[in-house]
């Protein structure tokens, strides 16, 4: 606060002609260039998006993670005057959809007032900030109508604020700061023209994100690692031996292997009735003092940090127990099929013309908005049910995604979109196992095995080596493999 006042005075001193306050925003121009997961040797065409970033403590700028994804170049542009400086992404959380940007040009940030972050209450009138092309701030008010758990763009659900606001179209429509009482209370991540509903990444997530990042090491939002069913059904309550005097509780139907709940000793069939001193109702909600009933997942992900211990109060066969769970985050790479891959190049290996890749949802999403129907159906199935299908491995699914016709792959052109299980008898835990497996050809052949038709094919090991250069030149591949 003191700093704010100081800056305000300084601004008055130097720009006395301007009666208006100095804005706590910068324009952010981000050029992102994602990798092409269907042609894993290259990147796609770069695209540039503009946004308005909120200037926070320390001169850091907050935007959505969505915007910062696969950033190739970031620059800040002064709200007024159009001066531009290069910037970088300091921290990004794609799940919580937040990114913190900074510039090394201290001069540029000088004099820009910094916003504090504060929660709002339902019914508060929030203000969305947009910029006119001349740099004038355009403020539009609307009420905060709802706080609820909602699916975030990449994976998982978190709290959102939803407000009703009639926004005008402006060129910088990706990521807008939303302010209440002079403090940042949310970042607008989605807006629907028809209903005038705006979804915000709310202050509790922003505060969590900033606090986590404050020590320079970012851990992310933790989870407990269980799945649950609502427990309104009296027959189910009786089956689970829930005493009549207990009114709440949910049925635990799934426990992530090696997750916090599993490590705490939670079992399928347990009835979760409380977390720390908060009661869990029949639908899995708890009463939040500000937002009313919201899902208990919010307690783990947003009210706690990685490494915190929470008490899980359960009923097992009707008997009350308390388990201590130490919360952890499951990184996308900890999944058999990564729910998303950002800022990283996909792994691949071109074997004589066979293109081997690891299945990721990022790859499946390349098939478009209706990827659930258009992507290879086996891969979609494996992704959806990965927790039950691959409990005992492998670590990653190696897929033959396409065959580049070469002299070594004659007759194999039609073989595509199937899982590779072994090469030369070596079970593949991930694509990184491929080079070692190729070192032991069988009688001069590489034996490649799949889990479905055609089950087994062979490549001539000497021919694979001989055609390498040809494949690379013919298909203009910068490299034939990338394993990291």
């Amino acid at each position: 606060m003191k700093r704010n006042i100081f800056f305000a005075i300084a601004a008055l001193a130097t720009l006395s002609l301007h009666a208006e306050e100095k804005l706590s925003v910068v324009r952010v121009n981000i050029t992102s260039q994602p990798w092409d997961f269907l042609r894993p040797w290259g990147k796609k065409q770069p695209t540039t998006k503009r946004a308005i970033g909120a200037v926070l403590e320390g001169g850091k700028v907050l935007v959505t993670g969505d915007l910062a994804g696969n950033a190739a170049f970031v620059e800040f542009e002064a709200a007024e005057g159009g001066r531009k400086v290069p910037a970088t992404v300091e921290f990004v959380d794609y799940e919580a959809n937040l990114a913190l940007l900074k510039t090394d040009d201290a001069e540029f940030m000088k004099g820009i007032p910094q916003l504090a972050v504060a929660e709002s209450s339902l019914g508060d009138v929030l203000t969305v900030w947009q910029l006119e092309s001349n740099g004038r701030l355009l403020k539009t008010d609307g009420p905060l109508t709802t706080a609820e758990n909602f699916a975030y763009p990449v994976d998982g659900a978190f709290l959102i604020y939803r407000m009703t606001v009639q926004l005008q179209g402006r060129d910088s429509s990706f990521t807008l700061p939303v302010v209440h009482d002079g403090k940042l209370t949310g970042v607008l991540m989605a807006y629907d023209n028809a209903s005038n509903n705006a979804n915000l990444v709310p202050a509790p997530l922003i505060q969590h994100f900033l606090k986590d990042a404050a020590d320079g090491k970012y851990d992310g939002f933790p989870r407990a690692g269980y799945g649950m069913s609502a427990m309104r059904d009296p027959a189910l309550r009786r089956y689970a031996k829930v005493p009549a005097e207990v009114t709440g509780g949910v049925f635990i139907n799934n426990i992530a292997k090696d997750g916090p709940a599993a490590k705490a000793g939670m079992k399928k069939g347990d009835v979760l009735v409380g977390i720390d001193d908060l009661a869990v109702d029949q639908d899995g909600n708890f009463p939040h003092p500000k937002y009313g009933k919201i899902p208990a997942g919010h307690i783990f992900s947003t009210m706690h940090f990685v490494g915190d211990t929470v008490k899980l109060h359960i009923l097992r066969e009707g008997v009350a127990q308390t388990l201590d769970a130490t919360l952890a985050r499951r990184a996308p790479s900890d999944y058999v099929i990564d729910p998303y891959i950002m800022d990283k190049a996909p792994r691949f290996y071109v074997l004589g013309g066979l293109v081997l890749q690891e299945v990721s949802r990022q790859m499946l999403r390349e098939f478009g908005a209706d990827w659930l129907r258009r992507a290879p159906e086996r891969a979609v199935y494996m992704d959806r049910y990965q927790n039950e299908l691959f409990e005992d491995g492998p670590k990653k699914i190696v897929f033959l995604t396409r065959v580049l016709p070469t002299p070594a792959t004659v007759g194999y052109e039609e073989v595509t979109s199937i899982r590779v299980t072994k090469i030369n008898g070596v079970e593949l835990q991930s694509l990184t196992d491929v080079p070692a497996a190729l070192e032991k050809p069988m009688n001069g052949f590489h034996k490649v095995e799949f889990d479905e038709d055609p089950k087994t094919i062979y490549l001539d090991a000497a021919q694979v080596t001989a055609v390498e250069q040809q494949v690379q030149q013919q298909y203009r591949l910068p490299t034939l493999k990338r394993l990291e």
Partner: protein, 483 residues
């Protein structure tokens, strides 16, 4: 005067005219009053509708037509041109897998002046054929001409899952033409049966060629239709030189490798994945999977086309590099019981307002499931050998809302795994499990961590309530359906 001139011109073409008249007398328009099953409300008798098609005398007292013309028939009548009477017909044999059927007409009057059509061979490409029938419901016979454009293996759209030899002609085949004869030189060379359903082609019609017709006639000659047999085998071409070398094969363009033999396949225990098939019935198998049969290169599956239940097929194979001979006796293959079509009465079990139905093509069509697990069970039931754990996948397709099931919606589209701890293999077992006198019914579903629990007393109390509220006329049909 004018009259006599006409007579003379008629005399000049007398032989063709006489033939035309004979053809007319041996053709019939078939009217089918059908009742289509409703897989979403399986206890209902179904809506009454109908259609018409064409039939032709295949014997002195039998008509042949398409299976789809007479499917779900409740009453069949046949009419001949020049005869005002409507005769009642019955289905004697129906072959859904090749879309053919044979009809009986008891009334002897119908068969007066009827001459059975001689059955010919496969017409040459580019020759002309004539299609006889009653297209788009007309009362008078219609004849169109077309040229034989292509002869190949093609899916028969009646059952969707069967492929047989099929002849494409450039005469449009419209509804009502179905079942009618396609003639060349006074002989039947095909049975008109389907058009082209896409919008990219026009003037394309398809007919069932005589090898398929003869196959059907021979199959039913023992009084029972056994259906087409199938090798139920997947093979992979051996065109890659390294692949051939690795298997120790010479560079002679012969042989394919077996990739999958399901335990339900007739080849199971005779052929194994990895076997190289060199000959079938002493005919060489080329490395692309084609065999030379009667002067044509055809796919391996076509060899089975010429076989019947109980016939033997001989393979010359290499197993682990060693030459061997294997004989396989054809039985009715498994997938037929899994994938039905709309002519099968729906089977179901209803309990506590929960509707359970076996997963098959009809169910997929009726519900348009998007659930990936249901789609997986349907698509890979055979190739992933899901039949090892169950005879059929049973889906909870619908819940008739009632207090007893008001909190059970999350189980919709679930696939039944067990009831009270006992794995459920088929509809009969499910129905039996529901009859058990236990206090609770605990139903587990594939991949769902939460059981569906019903208290027996509540189920009993809900029974009559649900029955009345939703007019459920019958709570189960597990017997009917495809055998």
């Amino acid at each position: 005067m004018k009259f006599s001139w006409l007579l003379i011109s008629a005399l000049a073409v007398s032989s063709a005219f006489a033939q035309q008249a004979e053809i007319r007398k041996s053709l019939a328009r078939i009217n089918n009053t059908a009742q289509e099953f409703n897989y979403r409300v399986p206890w209902l008798p179904g809506a009454i509708g109908g259609g018409s098609g064409t039939g032709w005398a295949v014997a002195k007292d039998r008509l042949m037509t398409n299976a789809h013309v007479v499917s779900n028939a409740r009453l069949l009548t046949v009419e001949k041109e020049g005869d005002p009477k409507k005769y009642v017909a019955t289905v004697e044999f129906i072959a859904h897998d090749c879309d053919l059927a044979m009809l009986k007409v008891e009334d002897k009057d119908f068969w007066k002046e009827v001459k059975p059509f001689p059955i010919g061979g496969v017409p040459e490409i580019e020759t002309t054929v004539s299609v006889y029938g009653y297209p788009i419901g007309g009362d008078r016979l219609s004849v169109t001409r077309g040229v034989v454009s292509r002869i190949d293996f093609r899916t028969y759209s009646h059952s969707v899952m069967d492929s047989h030899l099929c002849i494409q002609i450039d005469a449009a085949i419209n509804p009502g033409n179905s079942g009618g004869p396609v003639l060349q030189d006074g002989k039947v060379v095909g049975v008109a049966f389907q058009g082209f359903t896409g919008d990219v082609a026009q003037n394309v019609g398809y007919m069932i060629p005589t090898p398929v017709v003869r196959h059907f006639l021979k199959d039913v000659s023992d009084g029972k239709y056994d259906r087409y047999v199938d090798l139920s085998l997947t093979t992979f071409p051996l065109q890659n030189p390294a692949h051939r070398k690795a298997l120790g094969l010479p560079d002679d363009d012969r042989g394919v490798v077996v990739t999958e033999v399901g335990s339900a396949s007739v080849c199971y225990e005779h052929l194994m994945a990895g076997d190289v098939l060199l000959k079938i019935d002493n005919v060489d198998i080329a490395s692309d999977g084609l065999v030379q049969l009667e002067g044509e290169r055809v796919i391996l599956a076509e060899v089975a086309e010429r076989k019947y239940k109980g016939d033997v097929v001989k393979f010359d194979i290499l197993r682990g590099g060693k030459p061997m001979k294997q004989e396989v006796t054809f039985k009715v293959p498994f997938p037929y019981t899994h994938q039905a079509n709309s002519y099968v009465p729906p089977r179901y079990v209803m309990n506590a307002g929960l509707l359970f139905q076996p997963l098959n093509r009809n169910l997929m069509a009726a519900y348009q499931f998007q659930n990936p697990r249901v789609m997986y069970f349907f698509t890979h039931f055979v190739d992933d050998e899901l039949y090892k754990d169950r005879d059929e996948a049973i889906v909870l397709t619908a819940l008739l809302p009632d207090p007893i099931n008001t909190y059970l919606d999350e189980f919709r589209e679930g696939i039944v795994e067990s009831v009270n701890g006992k794995a459920i293999r088929n509809m009969k077992e499910l129905a039996d499990a529901f009859e058990q006198k236990t206090e609770q019914l605990v139903i587990e579903f594939e991949g769902l961590g939460r059981p569906l629990v019903l208290n027996a007393a509540d189920v009993e109390a809900a029974k009559e309530r649900i029955r009345k509220r939703y007019n459920v006329q019958r709570e189960a049909n597990i017997a009917e359906g495809i055998e």
